[in-house]
Symmetry: C2
Subunit: 131 residues, 2 copies
DNA sequence: ACTATTTCCTACTATGTCAATAGGTTTATC
DNA sequence: GATAAACCTATTGACATAGTAGGAAATAGT
């Protein structure tokens, strides 16, 4: 299940794309348009800056801005950054799952196939497709 | 993310299918073969009985048994029963989400399409495909 | 009837994540 | 120097996850 972080973040990206006139867009405006708590968006947007998805400018006249054209972003990369992983099943979320049954597990191939389908969809979908 | 409930439940179904000789299969055996806590499986299996996926028989010689042939079960129906919903996004999980932005939301169509793909995959996959 | 084995049932719990909120500091513009 | 914005750290309530614990009821064989 995609959380609000991913969903809100995606909407911020769309908002930035739609209102892009070259200048920086203040978060306050985005929060109002999207009807999301500005305070909460700060957390999300911070992650997006750190992840290099957008850039921010402090001070009066500041705000946020996309660093690439909308067609250069995929929904998958945006969600992965915010959700940590878009993995459908813990067994595939690399790291901590060193499941001893991996070799004989009857469900693993299916999960892999499923995960592939999910990834294919999300990484083929561009931000520009949502405008 | 599919939780252990759904994943373990699916493995129980596979185990029941593989070891089906007409008699009832005790949970103890399944727990040992699958290396999952029997106590925890009790909770999961109970849901599956209530949902009509399998049937149980108490007492000595008792256990659990499939009620249909493996090719008559879809992975989707098994997971839906155990997970409550396999919805990828809260906005689509019917009930509580009466989102006021539904009409103008730019992301909703994508989530619907995504959800459709997920459902198509899981409901076309049969239990018998995993044996 | 007794015993063993199994499901069935209720309750509890530790841990972690989600979705925020709160309040302040720094940075840039006019 | 006032204003407006990003940036930063910390805290919180609610809920879900992944179990554990202990026993009651049902069934089969002896």
């Amino acid at each position: 299940m995609i959380s609000t972080k991913g969903r809100y973040g995606l909407r911020v990206m769309i908002d930035l794309a739609q209102n892009n006139d070259g200048s920086y867009i203040p978060l306050k405006d985005i929060a109002e348009r999207q009807e999301i708590s500005k305070k909460y968006l700060e957390i999300i947007v911070k992650q997006m800056v750190e992840g290099g998805l957008i850039k921010g400018l402090s001070g009066k006249g500041g705000g946020y801005k996309l660093v690439k054209k909308p067609e250069k972003y995929t929904v998958g990369e945006i969600l992965t950054l915010l959700e940590g992983t878009i993995c459908s099943v813990a067994c595939l979320a690399d790291k901590h799952y060193d499941c001893p049954r991996r070799k004989k597990c009857e469900t693993l191939p299916m999960w892999k196939e499923f995960d592939g389908i999910v990834h294919d969809y999300l990484y083929s979908k561009k931000l520009s497709d949502l405008l």
